[in-house]
Symmetry: C2
Subunit: 392 residues, 2 copies
Amino acid sequence: MDNFNFYSPTEFVFGNDRENECGSYVKKYGGSKVLIHFGGGSAERSGLLGRVRYSLNKSGISFVELGGVQPNPRDTLVYKGIDLCRSEGVDFILAVGGGSVIDSAKAIAAGVLYDGDFWDFYSGKNIEKALPVGVVLTIAAAGSEGSGDSVITKEDGMLKRGAGSDALRARFSVLNPALTQTLPAYQTACGATDIMAHVFERYFTNTKEVEITDRLCEAVLITMVKETPRVIADPDNYEARANIMWAGMVAHNGIVGVGRSQDWNSHGIEHELSALYDCAHGAGLAVIMPSWMEFVYKHNVMRFCQMATRVFGCQMNFENPEATALEGIHRFRSFLHSIGMPINFAELGAKEEDIPALVEKFGIGDGRTGGFVALSSADVTEIYKIAAKASL
Amino acid sequence: MDNFNFYSPTEFVFGNDRENECGSYVKKYGGSKVLIHFGGGSAERSGLLGRVRYSLNKSGISFVELGGVQPNPRDTLVYKGIDLCRSEGVDFILAVGGGSVIDSAKAIAAGVLYDGDFWDFYSGKNIEKALPVGVVLTIAAAGSEGSGDSVITKEDGMLKRGAGSDALRARFSVLNPALTQTLPAYQTACGATDIMAHVFERYFTNTKEVEITDRLCEAVLITMVKETPRVIADPDNYEARANIMWAGMVAHNGIVGVGRSQDWNSHGIEHELSALYDCAHGAGLAVIMPSWMEFVYKHNVMRFCQMATRVFGCQMNFENPEATALEGIHRFRSFLHSIGMPINFAELGAKEEDIPALVEKFGIGDGRTGGFVALSSADVTEIYKIAAKASL
């Protein structure tokens, strides 16, 4: 096991109706003037924003509001948020939404306390301080409610880049599974795919003898394989939603991936798809991740056999381990298809002729990147090609 | 899933040699005058205390010291520590040791800031504030490095009682698996037993449909079943020690047990053994926990089948589930025996004739206690009787 630090100081406030307490949590964590940050109209229509406002009012906390966060959240709105926070004297940002809203809130939180252009942080500069952020989560997916990460898209050139810092970790996150019951099946499935990808990108490692984190990864994956079809079939299933929501946090706050090399190439390769086509991140991952697996599995056939047997219930073929590895990847892709995810470029709305442009924007040039299998631009091209033509 | 809050703000500093950084972490978390709290002479002889002092000096932090913490840490030393902290103006307590040292440090931390008798906190009073605590852990066992719990024994009457509060959670915990390599096999096995017990007391629940926490519990248990025999056979195995050390934290910081009813009767029933005989807590648990399982398994045979098949690799007997449940309990007890733990009163040094006194001190009188199976005094008597005569 490699040396590591693990720090997840967020207070998770989990369960039905818990958003009604968000005022007291803002107060507990020192907020007196809040920016409520949110996305489209659904938070308003569902009454969620009303309950959040009521809770803040009840706690004597004043607030301003900024909606309009889009999927793949844009730098342009972040600039607007920073200006608003400064002019209104905001000292706490409350994100009401999913990963895009939370990521946008984190970017604003860091930007308000920084003299320069906040995009510096998404170009490699360390974030040392940020306004405190709270979360009321509305979709189990990105894990941003428990992570120190944020991904923002620069509208000029649709450049999608990430930043990470413990300073970005939310002070509290309200996780009410009931808020996810109204999500369309497609978005639910996208979220589930994202959660599984967060685990797989930690699971495929070159670090030896990491039984505890292997088993924790598998715990999340097995849960997702069991619970996702249940919520697709029965969107109102609170218990299944609750299991997925907690799994989504566990998948990405770091605890299942400490002390081991990781490989985030699938995320990076996907980011170019969602940046170019503005497709859902989870949908892009459903196309990319099994394709990445097919390209790299020979690097460690036994690890893919472990996934196949422990996560997808395959019988180990001791005479032909490679067959088991491939069967595991096949079952993963079939699972994604079964929950309504696209599995190739056509289903996603991507075009094979764009592959050179995608590889170009992925931007590794003559270098290589990846903690499990280091990929060249030629390798990434091959993975896009597998993804373009994938079928069951 | 039940509603819950989960809050684990400790920064975990994991890996070889990390104790050499403890000065900078004390500084990071605001300490300027430290009480180094420790147990017997092994921390001195091994050079660990020397490295801790050196690190504090290097960071310009002054300190006083209080050693002598015993297993089942006593109130008498806590009073001494409180006095010392007050007279020396200590603002940070650094526990260098295992669960007993950490628990004693937490009690001192709470007591220093309290006008009354600190024992009030171990008699039910809420702890609202405490001095910050840091940890350099020397045994994987109690999980106190990541929990908000503390157990202290009142010397007058050997009364063992617990307190819990988020205010008691360590600011940072250094987890260096190499520090555990010198532990005798017996202590290593006691620690492993304690870790498994922390998970089982969360695992046996009446809450339905908690797949994610079930699977996380099993992840820790499977890891312990694999890694413990390896460290017993090869005490210097750093990788196995590392897996156990992280498993011990995960087992008890709360993350595997949120949102479900729990049952801590085995811990309570054991506490009377270690209080009366001053035996190791883990050894007492090895005697009590399988006996508790035998007494309660009919309450939910299928849950014990789940443990038997998923944790201990039993084949499910679909014609006779009860046989599978009992086979799982048998394998657990055999496992404990195989790592050198006692499995009955004689091996522990306990006496069957003391059972009425043990039940009396357990102190539920005519009531019942327990979140999985509520036990009466008569039930507890039966469990002690099973434990007295247990064999393989």
